[in-house]
Amino acid sequence: MFCSFCGGETASGDHERCRARLSLIDPPRYCAECARKMVVQVDPMGWTARCSRHGERTSAEAAQR
């Protein structure tokens, strides 16, 4: 698995700062499954993030988890 903020492997390195950014002000930028950069669109109330290999995630789905 990969960090959605920096694209690094979650098993290695310190991602505390990444998690803080993702919880506050950043949508995911890297696919958690393959670390590809995603095409992200932010709108006033949410975001969508699309990986060319693994499809689209949305803020609404993320909020349900």
Binding site: L24, D26, V39, V40, P44
Partner: protein, 346 residues
């Protein structure tokens, strides 16, 4: 340059008297903004005088602007791939940033405007990461603005970079209410922030916007390595422009940008800057924009609203996320600050 000698322990100046006392008479009573030297004195006040500075800035805002808060939403029509090198921006195509290029289609643009209007916002700003608009973008703006104006009760603003006179005239004819183009920082610091165009080019666009009858929205970002003297310089340069609105952003050090290594501005520093900008521009709409979530947190946001701010961007920004809209609306209710109505903005 100030000639007064400042007592660093109290922030008082021997020759002219205490700067906040001076500001009370000059700004609060007469509505005359502080000079560059005076703004610098405010920015140099010791930490224990922050509360006093914020209280005065709030009084000034209430006296000259009133209690209403102007609420706005913004959306990125064209994200990423920008040819400019603004060192703070994750949308530059010149940096190795994780932000990839994307376009918003018309349906999602109109939906974003509808969602924004539901919050009580009176302004909806369409933003594109470009040096200036090409014909394709101008056509998308024409179609998008017409669709929003037909379906949504909200003022439409645009932020599309540097404009030609023809483009200014066409945007005005489309009914664009306000145009945003930030000077970003002091003229003397601008070359450290952007090298692909000049501060003066931005200034020229703003003058054309004003002359065409659109409202001028122009602010910048605090915390990009500028000195306090340059921050004071910037406040006064903005005041000279006489913009209708000044959005105040606080640097978000984004990965891949040349400013990724800079620290997030500290809350007290940001709050004192808000107060100083209000004392420089007593009658201008001063808006909380990006970065307040990291720099100020929830408590700092309230302090800013009670320290000179009288407008706010709600919801998300262009590439970063904001606080939940409900949280900001609850804050305004708690502070007993009514949202400005649409018919008060025209």
């Amino acid at each position: 340059m100030t000639t007064a000698s400042t007592d660093t322990a109290t922030g008082t100046t021997g020759e002219r008297g205490d700067i906040l006392a001076v500001a009370r008479e000059q700004v609060l009573e007469r509505g005359e903004g502080l000079s560059e030297a005076q703004v610098l004195e405010v920015l140099q006040l010791p930490a224990e005088r922050l509360t006093e500075a914020l209280a005065l800035a709030h009084e000034v805002r209430m006296r000259w602007c009133g209690p209403d808060v102007e609420v706005e939403g913004i959306v990125s029509l064209k994200t990423g791939g920008c040819p400019e090198d603004c060192h703070f921006c994750s949308q530059s195509g010149l940096f190795d940033s994780p932000v990839r290029a994307a376009w918003l289609d018309k349906d999602r643009l109109v939906e974003a405007a509808k969602q924004t209007a539901k919050t009580g916002a009176t302004e909806f700003c369409i933003v594109a990461a470009v040096r200036g608009p090409d014909e394709k973008l101008m056509e998308q703006i024409r179609v998008g603005v017409a669709a929003i104006r037909a379906e949504v009760d909200i003022n439409v603003a645009c932020s599309l970079g540097m404009l030609t006179q023809d483009q200014v005239d066409r945007l005005a004819a489309m009914g664009v209410h306000r145009y945003n183009h930030n000077l970003e920082t002091a003229r003397s610091h601008f070359p450290e922030v952007v090298t692909t165009h000049t501060w003066e080019e931005r200034w020229e666009t703003l003058q054309m916007v004003r002359a065409a009858g659109m409202e001028v929205c122009c602010g910048g970002i605090v915390g990009m390595g500028e000195s306090l003297a340059q921050r004071a310089e910037f406040a006064v340069q903005l005041a000279e422009l006489e913009p209708d609105e000044v959005p105040m952003n606080f640097l978000i050090p984004n990965p891949g940008t040349p400013f990724a290594h800079l620290d997030v501005p500290q809350g007290p520093d940001a709050l004192l800057t808000i107060a100083a900008f209000r004392l420089a521009m007593p009658k201008t709409v001063l808006r909380f924009a990006g970065g307040r979530e990291l720099t100020l947190g929830d408590l700092g946001a309230e302090q800013g609203m009670l320290g000179g701010i009288n407008a706010i961007i709600v919801g998300n920004y262009l590439t970063n996320l904001g606080r939940p809209v409900e949280q900001d609306l609850e804050m305004l209710e708690t502070l007993k600050m009514p949202i400005k109505a649409l018919n008060d903005t025209l």
